[in-house]
């Protein structure tokens, strides 16, 4: 416990009472859910690796024809800075700095996430224009499924951010909303984690 009486994580109420136990239960449950989600990504990563050969590419366009590392680097920057921005939400929540600050940081996260999505969709469109559609080969199917699923996750994260802002506006910062904010944080950082895997294994490995 630090000097100001706050715990490293989320702080609900004055003591370690029932609200804490409920929060612990809910957040633990969400972690378990994400571990299950991680298996989904794990299998997609393994599939991507198994289609990453001349047979899987089936004479269609390959990584060297399609991948634009500059754009991928920009996406990485957007997403990871978005992850750091969520620290603003967590800190504002922990030190009770008010709704306005929390909503502001949430909006910063949403904008950075949207920036990521903008460049990702731009890449997808460009790749499709060069014949890199998922219907072209097994490798491209696995590429679109894996990276697309991550993109859908980011999109859901942005939706979740706006749903949370809606909750803060209508019901205020009660314990339930605070716990949901900490789950959203876990989710948002989880997306960074997956992206680090995608950046290295999907984009860097085939170009190396």
């Amino acid at each position: 416990m630090s000097g100001n009486g706050l715990y490293p994580g989320l702080n609900l109420g004055a003591t370690h009472g029932e609200a804490h136990e409920d929060a612990e239960k809910t957040v633990f449950g969400f972690w378990v859910f994400l571990m299950s989600d991680l298996i989904i990504f794990g299998i997609l990563f393994a599939s991507y690796a198994s289609y990453l050969d001349p047979v899987g590419m089936a004479g269609g366009p390959g990584p060297k024809d399609l991948f634009d590392l500059t754009s991928v680097a920009i996406q990485t920057a957007f997403l990871l800075v978005g992850g750091i921005a969520y620290a603003g939400v967590s800190l504002a929540l922990k030190y009770d700095q008010g709704r306005a600050k929390i909503i502001t940081w949430l909006l910063v996260c949403a904008v950075l996430g949207a920036g990521f999505l903008f460049f990702e969709v731009k890449d997808f469109i460009a790749q499709a224009g060069e014949g890199g559609v998922p219907q072209a080969s097994g490798w491209l199917s696995s590429y679109w499924a894996l990276v697309g699923l991550h993109g859908i996750h980011v999109f859901s994260g942005i939706l979740w951010i706006f749903a949370t802002i809606g909750q803060i506006a209508t019901r205020g910062l009660d314990d339930v909303v605070k716990v949901r904010l900490s789950m959203l944080g876990v989710f948002w950082h989880f997306l960074d984690l997956i992206w680090v895997g995608i950046f290295s294994l999907v984009f860097l490995v085939p170009l190396a």
């Binding site: 612990e24 571990m35 298996i39 490798w139």
Partner: protein, 701 residues
């Protein structure tokens, strides 16, 4: 099906029902199809009429469909499973009847009761239903009902999520059911291997029915696993250490962990196949770099842990009943815990034995063959532990013990034939034959089905307040044992004689006698089903004589037997303080187990909600729309789900408070009742004298 997709009705038109088939091509096959559809329609009409006449709609909605109570959710799971079980057994019988009449000649290749395509639909729906909509809801239902009570918890960690899980499972089951009436089901078996199930070889709605039923119910199972795990980790009563949990809780924990890690593989393989079929992706196609072997690989990453997901709760049930009905403490608790966890872990390392013949190197096959044989060791430990539990016990031959004995005799044979199949060189000879069919029915029926039926018989009084008829229960158990032996032992022989599995016809007359024996077994299975239904009905009619309001009809040792039967929605008047592994048994030893708690407090219960029901409706609409390409409905369904979730999140939901006075009053009445009831001895257990209050002097567990 017409070539054009209508914007409003998708691919639906009037030619999709089996009634039009029977008009166009009259024959036994189409008549059976139309008959099955009629049973579905008439059954639905009869149910609606009955509910309307009895004015049950209101109670059904208020007390069941909107209830977040894990006990009620568990009962609904089991009800769903029993309905699906009826269909599954009847389908099994039709298949046995077909094969008994399917001897073909060179001139007339195909004969028998049903057409080859119809036969393929039968084994595909039979497998899908029995695994996903009988075995899974049975075990999830039983865990839902029993787990919180054994842990000393009031409910699951996430009661509303639990409701959603049930809704998703029911939506999947409804999709499989409606395929009887609207369109056809897939013909690719319960595993639906591509490329056969790809768009080129299986156009039409059949495989799509399977895909959406599996994707939707699979999502429900994942959420259930997460709910079970969090409940076990966070909701145990004070003092309920891990090594004090009843063994059923341990096997539930194994199941939870396996659901969390295994279900995603099924989600991925089905989603990939859906992308291949709907969006022309090339995951599993023959051309453009697709790799159909990857499907088998991912599917069985789920599929093998799945069979242990099915069997472990049964092992939990057998651990409870072997101890209770022998009047002895469970032998080797620690070894059973270690064995369960070992099975859970090793089950993730054997999936490749489902495709030894796919062409990987011998070294890979041997590694997985050895892993498969290793898993027999913890299973063997368990069998010995249960036998040691019964050794020199005062064993009462109740229905669960009949199931347990049948399990001992038959499951060991099934396990040994599994060890035989684990040898890749033998597998090369008998894979894809009915030897394999005999093997997996030999583990799943004596394991899962007997275990779950034994569990239902054991805990039924806790749910409804009266015991099931022991006479009819034992008759049912004997019929299921006999039915199994006659149906599936011949399939071992047929498999060794070279009969391929899933074959609608055969030309070797030597097969016929065995086919007749198997068909007779099918008749016995039908009788067992009828006897099971009769057991429920006759017990309901004699519920006054069978009532056990004292709540402890079998002189049990775990916490769930400390409460009234039927158990009140709050389960425990106050959360028990656990001091020993067999808490309820220890209290009996100490004397006066039914002592009232010192004080009562208000109880917080989750409020009823229609959330799960609405999500189930939305997902069913979505699944049905995807099957029939009704895009507007699919979009509506897929938007409705997050809409419902966000709508619920916006509202502040207050729990329902049950005042302490009400709890105190109900609990006081229960304790007075227990004091007034005569204590039943072991010899009285099956008689009317058993009112649920056992003679605690006899307790020896």
């Amino acid at each position: 099906m017409s070539g054009q997709t209508s914007p409003i009705f998708g691919n639906l038109d009037w030619s999709v029902t089996p009634f039009t088939d029977v008009l166009q091509h009259p024959g036994t096959s189409t008549i059976i199809g139309a008959f099955a559809a009629s049973v579905l329609v008439l059954g639905a009409i009869a149910a609606v009429a009955l509910f309307t006449r009895m004015r049950w709609w209101g109670p059904l909605y208020r007390n069941w469909l909107t209830s977040p109570d894990a006990k009620r959710i568990g009962i609904m799971y089991i009800a769903l499973a029993l309905i699906m079980l009826a269909r599954g057994i009847i389908e099994g019988f039709v298949m046995r009847a077909h094969q008994a009449s399917a001897l073909g000649t060179l001139a007339q290749r195909e004969g028998g009761l049903v057409a080859p395509d119809h036969f393929a639909q039968l084994f595909s729906t039979h497998g899908t239903i029995m695994i996903f909509f009988v075995a899974m809801p049975l075990l999830i239902g039983l865990i839902n009902f029993v787990l919180p009570q054994q842990l000393g918890a009031r409910d699951m960690a996430f009661p509303v999520l639990n409701q959603v899980s049930l809704g998703l499972t029911a939506a999947g089951a409804a999709l499989v059911m409606i395929s009887l009436l609207v369109g056809d089901f897939g013909t690719g078996g319960w595993t639906m291997y591509p490329p056969y199930t790809g768009k080129i070889f299986s156009p039409g709605e059949g495989v799509d029915y399977w895909l959406w039923a599996i994707l939707i119910s699979g999502m429900g199972s994942t959420l259930t696993g997460m709910n079970f795990a969090v409940t076990i980790f966070k909701e145990r009563a004070p003092g309920m250490h891990f090594m004090r949990m009843p063994l059923f809780c341990w096997t539930s924990l194994c199941v939870a962990i396996m659901l969390i890690y295994a279900m995603p593989a099924l989600t991925v393989s089905s989603a990939m196949l859906a992308l291949d079929r709907y969006a022309d992706f090339h995951f599993f196609t023959n051309e453009a770099g697709g790799n159909m072997m990857n499907y088998a690989n991912i599917f069985w990453m789920f599929g093998h842990p799945e069979v242990y997901i099915l069997i472990l709760p049964a092992f939990g049930v057998f651990s409870e009943i072997s101890s209770t009905f022998s009047g002895k403490r469970l032998y080797g608790y620690t070894s059973l815990v270690i064995a369960s966890m070992s099975i859970a872990v090793i089950s993730f390392t054997v999936w490749l034995h489902h495709f030894f013949t796919m062409g990987q190197s011998a070294a890979v096959n041997i590694a997985f063959g050895i892993a498969t044989m290793v898993i027999g060791i913890p299973t063997g430990v368990k069998i010995y532990d249960w036998m040691a539990t019964m050794w020199r016990g005062r064993v009462r031959i109740t229905t669960p013990i009949v199931y347990l004995t049948g399990f001992f005799l038959l499951f060991v044979i099934g396990g040994l034939s599994g060890i035989i199949l684990a040898n890749p060189s033998i597998d090369y000879q008998v894979h894809n034959s009915t030897f394999l069919v005999a093997h997996f029915h030999n583990v799943i029926i004596p394991g899962v089905l007997y275990g779950m039926l034994a569990g239902i018989h054991y805990w039924f009084p806790k749910a409804f307040g009266f015991r099931l008829s022991e006479t009819w229960g034992r008759r049912t158990a004997f019929l299921f044992v006999g039915g199994f032996v006659f149906t599936f032992m011949p399939l071992y022989v047929l498999g060794l004689m070279g009969m391929p599995r899933r074959s609608p016809t055969f030309q070797n007359p030597d097969f016929l006698p065995w086919m007749y024996i198997a068909a007779f077994g099918g008749v016995l299975m039908l009788c067992a089903l009828a006897s099971l239904i009769w057991t429920f009905w006759t017990s309901y009619r004699h519920r006054a004589a069978l009532a056990v309001p004292g709540g402890d009809p079998w002189n049990g040792s775990t916490l769930e037997w400390s409460t009234p039967a039927p158990v009140p929605e709050w389960t425990f008047p106050c959360i028990p303080q656990v001091t020993a592994r067999h808490e309820w048994g220890e209290r009996k030893r100490a004397g006066d187990p039914w002592k009232a708690p010192a004080e009562y407090t208000d109880i917080e219960m989750p409020a009823n909600t229609a959330h799960g029901l609405l999500i189930a409706i939305a997902t069913f609409a979505f699944g049905f729309a995807m099957v029939w390409h009704i895009w507007w409905l699919a979009i509506l369904g897929v938007l409705a789900i997050p809409g419902l979730v966000i709508f619920r999140a916006m509202r502040i939901i207050e729990p329902r408070i049950i005042p302490a006075a009400e709890v105190a009053e109900a609990d006081g009445r229960f304790r007075q009742l227990v004091a007034s009831l005569p204590a039943a001895t072991r010899a009285d257990e099956e008689t009317e004298r058993n009112r649920g209050v056992p003679d605690i002097a006899e307790f020896a567990g």
